[in-house]
Amino acid sequence: MASQSRPFRLLHNLNAKIAALPMVLTTMVVFVGGTIWTVFYSFTDSKLLPRERFVGFDQYERLWSNSRWAVSIENLAFYGVMSLVFTVVMGFILAVLMDQKIRYEDTFRTIMLYPFALSFIVTGLVWQWILNPDFGLQGIVRGWGWESFSFDPLHSPETVLYGLLIAGLWQGTGFVMCLMLAGLRGIDEDIWKAARVDGIPTWKTYLVVVVPMMRPVFITTLVIVAAGIIKLYDLVVAMTSGGPGGNASQVPAMYVYDYMFQAQNLGQGFAASTMMLLSVLIVLIPWAYLEFGGKKHG
């Protein structure tokens, strides 16, 4: 009807609108619609199928009183902080080393980045094998005669997250290194010349001049890495399936999947995924504000 009353406006630039139709549908139906739908149904007591029987914040109360969810959040917070700090620090240090006009830079980069091409499943399975207590690192060191040597992170609830971290860092630091290296290369040569003329030592130039200049790169990296961490799922499935001891390495994404598709308790799954969205927004909104809020003036 609308197109009949105002044919001119809607038909104008019609091809572009057809071309953008998938985007419009994706954003409106899936991203916006899907999100609202899930948040809406997180206030119901949906079990096997979604139904509109509202129970207020019951699902959220149940969620936060569930020890498995509490463990998931703690794990994610610990893994997230460690992973953020280590990927960014290691990525930056590696990028600085790579920026020293070294030989074979391409070879070094190829080696550091190839894990990023692999899936978390492959990453997790390889490290599960290397960390195998009988045949892996521990077994080898014991075979050398150090009988009491113990390195079995995946089978103890206290250390399992470090095991995940070893694999996660292996997969992701090369990528962060590349981002940081691109950032370093973007810095004006003259800055370096000026620092050299002033007699500032190289390490100090990096810390005092270069790092502040690379603020946008750091922020972008942090946001990308953080958004990836919240989705953490495959790696845990492959390495520990959430164990040992049932839930020592549980993460929120796993909780959501299990309640939605295994335990047939949709309401819990919806409430948990809404909490995940909330945590992303906490990261995203300040960033968007910094990134886009200021630009309007310039």
Partner: protein, 304 residues
């Protein structure tokens, strides 16, 4: 300057130019030492995977995971490919491989077509609201997938696509859209607008300009998109689990089921061969594409 004035008198007595730096100074030893050590950490898993997959089970049990095989055998590879079991199926990873192929190929093609045309429309044929939708699209890429998992189940079920190949293709197209659209949009914005205007003056329309100007001028970015999508979709696990049925499981899912299955004796050599087989496609893409891969992920991450 000093060198130039002195070179006349010293021409016969010694080499010219600045004194070359010694290659083996402490700084370089430190630098390359650290880099080599780091590389060891990165290479180790690949080495272990290859070595373990070439050993027989008795040797795996006895030996050191880092040691090369005494007796090379390709049996684990054959077994991983053709007879490893998941549940009741014992036809190996080959099924997962072909599933991944028939999932990846249409997903990659469809997502690239849609995103490239979309990026082109966003740059050269802006319409009211196009920027708003684009902003939502980019923000949407940060929303955890978990929150959209179930609504998509419903949408696919309504469309009769739940559990089918095309349902999964659609899901990959949807979730690949933000990054690919961003990629194409940024690339097209670097093509001089004069070209577009000239073609308009010559009477070319939306599709004419796309096929005759934009497409031929942007082949590198299509390759970047291809790399990004092939590795991304091949490596997907979550969507494969949620939106397909067991006989359509992609390779990653099947791999995980084979390796982490609780029944039976663990055959580590077969597991590593299977892991390597699954990682092979993205690794080949990575090593063949070289710098374009770096460019792809960098373009995906740092916009502009």
């Amino acid at each position: 300057m000093a060198d130039a004035s002195m070179s006349g008198s010293l021409a016969m007595t010694g080499p010219r130019g600045a004194k070359p730096k010694r290659a083996l100074n402490p700084r370089n030893i430190m630098l390359y030492g650290i880099l080599l050590l780091v590389c060891l950490y990165y290479i180790l898993p690949l080495w272990v995977m290859i070595m373990t997959s070439l050993k027989g089970m008795p040797e795996v049990r006895l030996g050191n995971i880092f040691a090369p095989p005494v007796e090379i055998t390709f049996e684990p590879w054959v077994k991983a490919w053709a007879t490893a079991c998941t549940g009741l199926n014992c036809d190996g990873l080959s099924r997962g491989f072909w599933n991944s192929v028939i999932i990846t190929v249409p997903s990659v093609i469809l997502s690239i077509i849609i995103a490239s045309v979309n990026g082109y429309a966003l740059i050269n044929w802006k319409f009211k609201g196009s920027e708003v939708f684009f902003t939502i699209l980019i923000f949407g890429s940060f929303i955890p997938y978990q929150i959209m998992l179930y609504p998509i189940v419903i949408l696919l079920r309504e469309a009769g696509l739940y559990g089918t190949l095309w349902g999964l293709v659609l899901v990959h197209t949807i979730f690949g859209m933000p990054i690919l659209t961003l990629l194409f949009r940024n690339y097209f914005s670097s093509i001089p607008e004069e070209l577009f205007k000239a073609a308009r003056v010559d009477g070319a329309g939306f599709w004419g300009i796309y096929f005759r100007i934009m497409l031929p001028m942007s082949l590198p970015i299509f390759v970047v998109a291809l790399i990004l999508q092939v590795t991304g979709i091949w490596n997907d696990f979550l969507f494969g689990v949620v939106y397909t049925k067991p006989d359509l499981y992609p390779m990653t899912v099947q791999l995980n089921n084979i390796v982490n299955s609780v029944q039976g004796v663990k055959e580590y050599n077969v597991n590593m061969a299977a892991t390597l087989l699954t990682g092979m496609v993205p690794l080949v893409v990575y090593f063949v594409s070289g710098k374009l891969f770096v460019r792809g992920i960098a373009a995906g991450a740092v916009k502009g």
